[in-house]
C-alpha cells in the first residue's frame, strides 16, 4: 500500500512548497508548451535539466527519482516505437539521426513526467484544493477532491481490515485459477462498498449539521496571496516561454550527431 503513502499529508516546507500552486502550474505548463515546440534532442536535453534545481531546493530528490523510475517502462516503449517505425519506413537520413530523434521523443515524455511530478510532490492536497477554490472551481468539486484525498488512508486501512477478517474465515486470495481469484474478491468488495455508502451517509449528516449550503457566498479561512517569490517564478516561466519561442524560430538547432564520429552502421 506504499502508493497511498504519497497521499499522506507531509509537513515538508521549502521555498518551492510555499509557492502559489496556480503559478507553479503555469510554470509547469510553460515547460510543457516549450517541450512541444522542439523535436530536436539538444533543446529538450536543456529543458530536462531546467527543473532539477527546483527538485534539489524542494528536497524531494528521492520521490522525484522514484516517479521517473516509474516512467521508465513507458519511456522505453516510446523510444523503441519511434526507432522501429522510423527504421522500417526509412524516414531518416541515417541511423544516428534516427537514434537522436527517438531519444528526443523519449526525453520529451520524461520532461512532462518530471515537471508534473515536481508539481504534485511540492503541492500538498489542501494547497491544491485552495488553488482550485480560488480559481473559481465550484466548491462541490473542490470539496469532493479534498474529502477523497482525506479518506484515502482510511479506506486503505479498512480494505486491509476486511481482507484480514475474511482471511480469518478461511478465504484464500492467492489460490485458484483466474476466475476463482476474481470471485474471491467479492467478500472484500461488498463490505468495502457497503461501508463506503454508510460512511457517505454519516458524512452528509455531519455536513448538513455544520450548515452546508447555508450561505450562497462561502468564505475561506485561508487565502492564497501572490508573493514576491511567486512573481519571480511567473517571470521565469514567461521568460522561458519567450526564450523558447525565440530559439524555435530564429536559432538553427544543430543535430548532436554532427558532433559525434560516424557510427559503424
Amino acid at each position: 500500500m506504499s502508493v497511498f503513502e504519497g497521499f499522506r499529508f507531509r509537513h515538508v516546507t521549502s521555498p518551492i512548497h510555499n509557492r502559489d500552486p496556480r503559478i507553479k502550474f503555469l510554470f509547469v505548463l510553460a515547460i510543457f508548451v516549450i517541450a512541444i515546440f522542439f523535436m530536436e534532442l539538444l533543446p529538450l536535453l536543456v529543458l530536462f535539466f531546467v527543473p532539477l534545481p527546483f527538485v534539489w531546493v524542494a528536497g524531494v530528490k528521492k520521490e522525484w527519482l522514484r516517479s521517473l523510475r516509474g516512467a521508465v517502462f513507458l519511456a522505453s516503449f516510446i523510444f523503441i516505437f519511434n526507432f522501429v517505425f522510423g527504421y522500417l519506413y526509412r524516414s531518416y537520413p541515417s541511423t544516428t539521426t534516427l537514434l537522436e530523434f527517438s531519444l528526443a521523443m523519449t526525453l520529451r515524455f520524461l520532461v512532462l513526467v518530471e515537471s508534473f511530478s515536481i508539481f504534485f510532490l511540492t503541492t500538498s492536497p489542501d494547497h491544491l484544493s485552495l488553488a482550485l477554490e480560488q480559481s473559481h472551481v465550484p466548491y462541490e468539486f473542490t470539496f469532493a477532491f479534498t474529502t477523497a484525498v482525506r479518506f484515502v488512508p482510511v479506506l486503505a486501512e479498512e480494505a486491509q481490515t476486511i481482507m484480514d477478517a475474511q482471511k480469518a474465515r478461511g478465504l484464500e486470495l492467492e489460490r485458484g485459477n483466474f476466475l476463482k481469484r476474481v470471485r474471491n474478491y467479492i467478500p472484500i468488495l461488498i463490505p468495502l462498498i457497503v461501508s463506503a455508502i454508510r460512511r457517505s451517509l454519516e458524512l452528509a449528516e455531519a455536513m448538513e449539521s455544520r450548515a452546508w449550503g447555508a450561505s450562497p457566498k462561502r468564505t475561506n479561512l485561508y487565502v492564497l496571496k501572490i508573493k514576491a517569490g511567486d512573481l519571480a517564478l511567473l517571470v521565469l516561466a514567461i521568460g522561458l516561454l519567450v526564450l523558447g519561442i525565440y530559439v524555435r524560430y530564429f536559432v538553427p538547432i544543430p543535430q548532436l550527431s554532427t558532433f559525434l564520429p560516424p557510427l559503424p552502421f
Binding site: E208, R210, A211, A214, T219, L221
Partner: protein, 282 residues
C-alpha cells in the same frame, strides 16, 4: 426557560413499519446537562436527529407534533438555520472530519455560514483553546487518536457558538480514559460557557456524575424523566436493563440489607463519601 420543548413528537422513517418516536413530550431547561439513554433501538438517535432538523429535512418522512429548539420551530427552519443554535456531535469521530488539517475542519461550519476571515480566525482559535487542542492545529485528522478526533469534532461544532450541543454516543469508540476526557470537556462547556448539553450515553458509570437531568427511552417512548438520583433508584430503570452505575447498584444492595446511605450516589466519590459517613463510627 426551556431550550428544548417537545409535545407529542411522533416519527416514522420512510418505509418503516414501526414508529421510531411515539408521542415524545419533554423539556430541557437552558444551561442543563441532560443525559438521554435507553436500550438499543429505543429512539434516542432518532430524537437527536430531530433536535437539529436532520429530521424532517434530511430524512424524509413526516414529523408530527411540536418541537422547538432554542426558540426555533424545527419544522419551519432549515438545517442551516438550526445549525447556528444547535450543534450535533456524532458517534464516529472519523466520519465528522472532512478537511486535511484540524484548523480547516474547525472552520468548516463558519465557512459555510459565510463568516468574514478575521472573525473566523478568532473563533477557530477560541474553539481550539476551549477544547484543549491548540497544539493539534496543523495536524491531519488521520494522524489523530479517536479521542483527539472527537475533540476536533466538538471544536468544530463549538466554533459556531450554538446555545445547545447534542452529543450522540460520542465515546463509543474510545477507551475509558479517552471517554472521561471527553466528558470533562463537555462538562466545561456546560459549566463555563453555559451551553445546554444533551448527552446520549450507555456508559452511565462515567457520565452520570455530570448530569442534572436524566431521560430514559424505550421503544420510541419516554419512560422516565427526572433527576438522576430518582431515576437510578426507580424500579423501571432496573427492569429496562439500562446501565445503572455500579455505585448505585451497591447502594441498592446495601439498602436491601438494612444499611441506608445519605442518598443515591451517582459517582464513586459520592459513594465513598456516603459510606465513610455511615461506617466511620468513632
Amino acid at each position: 426557560m426551556s431550550v428544548i420543548e417537545t409535545q407529542g413528537l411522533t416519527y416514522t422513517y420512510p418505509g418503516a413499519t414501526k414508529q421510531s418516536l411515539r408521542d415524545v413530550t419533554l423539556a430541557v431547561e437552558r444551561g442543563e446537562f441532560a443525559i438521554l439513554t435507553g436500550p438499543s433501538g429505543c429512539g434516542k438517535t432518532t430524537l437527536c436527529r430531530c433536535f437539529n432538523g436532520l429530521i424532517p429535512h434530511f430524512y424524509a418522512g413526516e414529523l408530527k407534533g411540536d418541537l422547538k429548539v432554542a426558540d426555533l420551530s424545527v419544522n419551519e427552519h432549515t438545517i442551516g438555520e438550526m445549525a447556528k443554535r444547535v450543534g450535533l456531535v456524532f458517534q464516529n469521530p472519523e466520519n465528522q472530519l472532512f478537511a486535511l488539517s484540524v484548523e480547516k475542519d474547525v472552520a468548516f461550519g463558519l465557512e459555510n455560514l459565510g463568516m468574514p476571515r478575521e472573525q473566523m480566525q478568532e473563533r477557530v482559535d477560541w474553539a481550539l483553546q476551549m477544547t484543549g487542542i491548540e497544539d493539534l492545529r496543523e495536524r491531519a485528522p488521520h494522524e489523530l487518536s479517536g479521542g483527539q478526533q472527537q475533540r476536533v469534532a466538538i471544536a468544530s461544532v463549538l466554533a459556531m457558538q450554538p446555545e445547545i450541543i447534542v452529543f450522540d454516543e460520542p465515546t463509543s469508540f474510545l477507551d475509558p480514559l479517552g471517554a472521561q476526557k471527553i466528558f470533562e470537556v463537555i462538562s466545561q462547556l456546560n459549566k463555563k460557557l453555559g451551553i445546554s448539553v444533551i448527552l446520549v450515553e450507555h456508559r452511565l458509570d462515567l457520565a452520570a456524575r455530570y448530569a442534572g437531568h436524566v431521560i430514559i427511552m424505550d421503544e420510541g417512548k419516554i419512560v422516565l424523566d427526572g433527576e438522576p438520583r430518582d431515576i437510578f433508584n426507580s424500579e423501571q430503570a432496573w427492569l429496562l436493563g439500562v446501565g445503572i452505575p455500579k455505585a448505585v447498584r451497591l447502594w441498592r444492595l446495601l439498602e436491601e440489607n438494612g444499611i441506608a446511605l445519605k442518598g443515591v450516589p451517582t459517582s464513586s466519590d459520592e459513594a465513598t463519601q456516603y459510606l465513610k459517613e455511615v461506617l466511620w463510627r468513632r
